[in-house]
Amino acid sequence: MITKAQIVQWLTTTAKVLAENKEYLTQLDSAIGDADHGINMDRGFKKVMEKLPTVEDKDIGNVLKTIGMTLISSVGGASGPLYGTFFMRSGMVVTSKEELSGDDLLQLLQAGVDGVVQRGRAQLGDKTMFDALSPAMDALRSGLENQDDVVTALETAVAAAEQGMKDTIPLQAKKGRASYLGERSIGHQDPGATSSYLILKALLDSVKA
């Protein structure tokens, strides 16, 4: 089982990792966007860290919903509403839970990813965060279906996210700001796919710890 402490740890690790990768993500965004993705994510998760102590005694669903709302009202840009929706929707499917089974985790993440797609309408191959999230969900699902333990399943999911992130490099962007570059977007890794990979990696690390 995944404890609430581990979920809180996930958010904390995410904040740390995004702070560490602030410049890297911004640099990726400067190649095909407007040089703010790292700044946006770091600003949002700094706010999350401020907010976290005030909701730590709530259930996991409430924690995630609050984090989602915090991101919506602090990140801005494209990634703000998308990641905000991700966490809000995630929280909605685990209302009042204090710990999560592997299947709960799968549903939680799937609801989040569905929310991203509903808001942003990205399709696979559009060179967005969805290109990291989608293969990760597939890997997680088949891992759990194969009776892998959560950590093992998450490990394959994170590997898939990393591969999906790298696979954005040769793609031409069709959504978001990078799409304006047309063919010039080819050859660069998508910043949002990169932050998605980092977030899933932080989840794995927190669950392993």
Binding site: A35, G76, A78
Partner: protein, 357 residues
């Protein structure tokens, strides 16, 4: 990075503090969350016009708050869309009972955040509507991209629709006019230098001394293509022709259905311009290009229009929708009918645009 700033994180806040002390007759500022609104808001029974977007484009949008233009403006961080709570609370502050029209530039971030704001306002009983501005002809199709960006036409639309609201247009009339202005407007931009986002600390892109970016947006992002640097005449000719020759542009936009409380998809097609059309022409500095160079550009624009039978009936020349200190310019054509001209000429009294008052 060299800028007249204090802490990087305070850039937007301190700019708003400056506007507040400078223009108490025109506007007020709310800081948590951030929005600029008319000093006399809410104006009873007037449709409130609200815009917003990333900061770094000043005077747009905060500088256009005041009589005859915007009722509210929501500034995001530099080049980053503002958040729905700002838009929603701004709408509450300026709604005088006749509803709120959001003018939204077509960027994924702005669109997503404003959509949430419309939903929040609606849920709160505010009559809300939003119209997208997507006028950048450098973006060719809407199928394989996020669609045309909202650029120069935004300024003209805020002016025209702001005057219409002042004159008593209701929410649907304002929305219809905004949609028309957007469909009548076409823009293109270029840059000869990059700019530096304060929080990033270094230029967004490197541009060699003998190259320029054509088809650039307003966020310091790279443009449609990079070309060898050319003369003002060559650049202007290329851009004006691209605007005047632009084919019909189709896309599907989402507009809010107030009855149903849902988003409905609308197919819109901008008709190409034809000989004899009358225009408001807007030559805009990206920030670092001095107005003297804009006049050299305008001179060529006028010459081409003369040759091609496009009639310029009004103009606007200066830095109005900028990208920090970037050097470069954009050209906007807005086909002007009687309704648009009437509201263009109407008095406006804002920090960034002022006449007749």
């Amino acid at each position: 990075m060299k800028k007249l700033i204090n802490a990087v994180d305070d850039v937007v806040k301190e700019q708003l503090e400056g506007m507040l002390v400078a223009h108490p007759d025109m506007l007020k500022v709310n800081f948590e969350p951030k929005y600029v609104y008319r000093a006399d808001a809410p104006v009873a029974n007037k449709v409130a016009i609200v815009s917003g977007g990333g900061s770094g484009h000043e005077p747009m949008h905060g500088g256009f708050v005041g009589m005859g233009m915007l009722d509210g403006a929501c500034p995001g961080e530099v080049f980053t869309s503002p958040t729905p709570d700002q838009m929603y609370e701004c709408a509450r502050a300026v709604d005088g009972g006749a509803g709120v029209l959001f003018l939204v530039k077509n960027y994924t971030g702005d669109v997503l955040n404003f959509e949430t704001a419309v939903e929040l306002a609606h849920a709160d009983g505010i009559k809300a509507q939003s119209i997208l501005i997507d006028d950048d002809v450098a973006v060719k199709d809407s199928l394989y991209t996020a669609g045309r960006r909202g650029v120069g036409t935004t300024v003209l639309c805020e002016k025209v629709v702001g005057a219409a609201a002042e004159a008593g247009y209701d929410l649907d009339q304002c929305a219809d006019l905004a949609r028309k202005v957007n469909m009548y407007g076409r823009s293109m931009g270029m840059a000869i230098t990059s700019c530096t986002v304060p929080a990033a600390g270094k230029p967004t892109f490197d541009l060699p001394d003998d190259e320029m970016e054509i088809g650039i947006g307003i966020h310091g992002e790279p443009g449609q293509k990079r070309m060898p640097m050319a003369t003002a005449d060559e650049i202007t000719t290329m851009m004006v022709n691209e605007i005047l020759d632009d084919a019909a542009y189709s896309r599907t936009v989402r507009e809010w259905d107030r009855e149903e409380g849902t988003w409905v998809e609308k197919d819109l097609t901008d008709a190409p311009y034809v000989e004899g059309d009358e225009f408001i022409v807007f030559v805009n500095s990206m920030g670092g290009t001095p107005v003297s160079e804009l006049y050299a550009v305008y001179r060529k624009v006028a010459e081409i229009c003369e040759k091609r039978g496009a009639k310029i009936v009004r103009n606007l020349i200066g830095p109005y929708i900028t990208s920090l200190e970037m050097q470069g310019m954009s050209i906007t054509f807005l086909k002007a009918d009687e309704e648009i001209l009437k509201f263009w000429d109407a008095p406006v009294n804002t920090p960034g645009l002022r006449w007749g008052a």
